[in-house]
Assembly symmetry: C2
Homo-oligomer: 341 residues x 2
Amino acid sequence: MVTVALDAMGGDRGLEVNVDGAAMLSREDTDIHVVLVGDVSRISERLEAIAYDPQRLTLVAAQGCVAMDERPGEALERMPECSIARAAELVATGQAQALVSAGHTGATILAASRRFGRLPGIRRAALAAVYPTERRHGPHKDPFALMLDVGATLDATAADLVSFAVMGSAYSSIISSIEAPRVALLSNGTEANKGTATIVEAHRRLLEGPLNFEGNIEGLDIPRGTVDVVVCEGFLGNVVLKMLEGVSEVVRDVARQASGRKLQWRVGLAMLGGGLRELRRMTDWKSYGGAPLLGLDQVVIKAHGRSEARAIRNALKVAAKAVRRDLIGRTQAGMQEIGDA
Amino acid sequence: MVTVALDAMGGDRGLEVNVDGAAMLSREDTDIHVVLVGDVSRISERLEAIAYDPQRLTLVAAQGCVAMDERPGEALERMPECSIARAAELVATGQAQALVSAGHTGATILAASRRFGRLPGIRRAALAAVYPTERRHGPHKDPFALMLDVGATLDATAADLVSFAVMGSAYSSIISSIEAPRVALLSNGTEANKGTATIVEAHRRLLEGPLNFEGNIEGLDIPRGTVDVVVCEGFLGNVVLKMLEGVSEVVRDVARQASGRKLQWRVGLAMLGGGLRELRRMTDWKSYGGAPLLGLDQVVIKAHGRSEARAIRNALKVAAKAVRRDLIGRTQAGMQEIGDA
C-alpha cells in the first residue's frame, strides 16, 4: 500500500478535477491510498455526487489554498495551514509517502523545499517535465522524454547540472523502465567545447561519470527525442517547455482554421481523424502524469495546472510508482556513484 | 543600383544554387548587381548552361572556400583569399555594398567582423533570424518574426541585449515596413522581475528607452508571434531556433509516416494538399531570405546552408533592400536615440 497526499484545492480547474481524479483511481484495482487535503465539506459534497471506493480515500482538513496569481512566500506565510502546506506536512511526518499537486508551481516547490530535506550532494532541487517526442523510449515505447530543470533553478552550476543528470536518469529508469537512460546536455552544438563554461565543465564531469552520457544535443534533438533525459539550466528549460506547448497550440489552431476554410479540407481532416487524435494525444503531455520535483528526500509530483481528472489520476499513479520503485534510494545511489567516480 | 557580393562557393548545395540564384535575380527587373566570388572557371561553366543577364552579373576570383566542418579561424588563416574573405573585402573596399553567403556561419561572422567596423555603442554583433509565426506582422502581413541573437554571442550583457533590441527593431522596420516594431525580451515569465539579472537590467533600460518595448515574453509567444522582434542571448536563441527547425521536421515526418500507414489517411492528406503546402511554406523559413548579421557598419546576410536557388535570390533581394532603406543609418540613429534616453 502506498499513501499519496493530494492538494485537493490546487489547479486551474479547482477542487472537482482533483476529487474526481482520486475517485477514479480508487475504483481501479491498485494498492494506492489517496489523502485528499483541503476543504473537507466541499470535498465530501463532491464525493457524494460521484462513485468512489471509501476504503481508498481519506480526507484531511486544510485552511485556504494558494491562488495561481499569489506570491508563494507571502501566501504560505499568511496561510500556514493551506492545502499545499498541510499536504507536505503529511508527507514530512510519514502519514503519506508522496505529494501530488496541480496547484501553484512556486508554492509547491517552496512548501516541499521547506518541509523535506535535500538528498546528500544535491545543492538544488529541479523540476523535470515529460514532453512528447517523435522517437519512442524504453521497453514500453513511451512517446515522451524527460527534460530538467524546467523552472526551479535560474543559475545552475556545473555541479548542479551533474546532479540534475543523476536525478533525471534515476527518474527515467523508474518511470519508463529504462535500464541506462541516455542522458545529454542541451547546448548550441554537439562538440564537447560548445556552450557556456558551466556546460563545458558539466560535460567533462559527466564523461568521467557512470551515467549513460551521450554528450551535447542541440535544439533539433528535443522534438526528435534523441535521448531519454535532456539536462539544462532552469531558465532555458522553462523557455523551451513553454515553446513546445505553444507550438502544439499553434498547430491545433492552424488545423481548426483550415477546417473552417474549405469543405475539401474539412473532409480531409475528418478522414485523418484517428491520426490527428494520435498526434493530439502525443502532444498532450498534460495526460502524462505531471512533472516530478527531484532532489528532495520525498517524492513530489507537480501535475499541470490545466489537468483534468484523468491527468490527476495519472499523477497519483506516477507518484505511487516512484515510491514503490524507490526513486529516492536510486537517486541517492546515483549521487554516491558519481561522487566516487 | 545596389551591388551585392555573393560568396558563390558557400552552402551545403555548393556553387550551383548560388550561381542559379544570382542568374534568376538578374533576369528580373531589379536594380541589383551581383558579384559572384569564387572559382571563376566553374562559375562561368555553370553560367553557360543557364539563362542570365550579363549586365547584372560580375565574376571575381577567389582561392578556396571554408568547408562546413572546418574551424573558421584556422580556415581563414590558411586561405586568406577564400571566397568569403574576398567577398567581404569587396564590401570593405566599397566595390560592393552588401555581403551574402550561404556558407559556414562562423566563417561568415568572422570574415565580416574582421573586415567591417562595429557601429558606435555596439559592443557585439548579433545574428538575427526570421522564423514563422501564427500571427502576421506589419502592413504586408508577413508570416514571420525576427529573433536575435541566435548564435553570434554566448554571454550577453544587459547593454548587449539593449543594442540587440535597437538593431532588431531597425531591421524589422526596414524589412517588414513596420513603423515601430513591437520588441520583447525572451524570459521565463512576463513580469519585469523575471529572468536572470542581465534580463531584469535590460528590461529596466528598455522601458526607459524610445523603442516600442512590450516587456518580457515567454516560450509560448515564440510560435504565436506575439511581437515582431524577440531579443535574447545567443545561446538561448540558438537552441530555440534549432528546436523550431526540429519541430517542423518532426511534423513533416509524422505526416509522411501516417500517409504510409492507412489508405484513408493517405486520401485525407491528399485532400489537405493545399493546406499542407501552405503550412509547409509557412514553416520553410529557408525561403525568407536569410539571417542578417547586425551591428556592423555593412549589410551582411547569412543565407541558410541548405538554401536552394530561390532562397539565394531572396537573400540577395533582402540585402539590396537593407542597403536601399539604409539599415546601417537607421541602426546608428536608433543607438543614438537610446543613448540619449
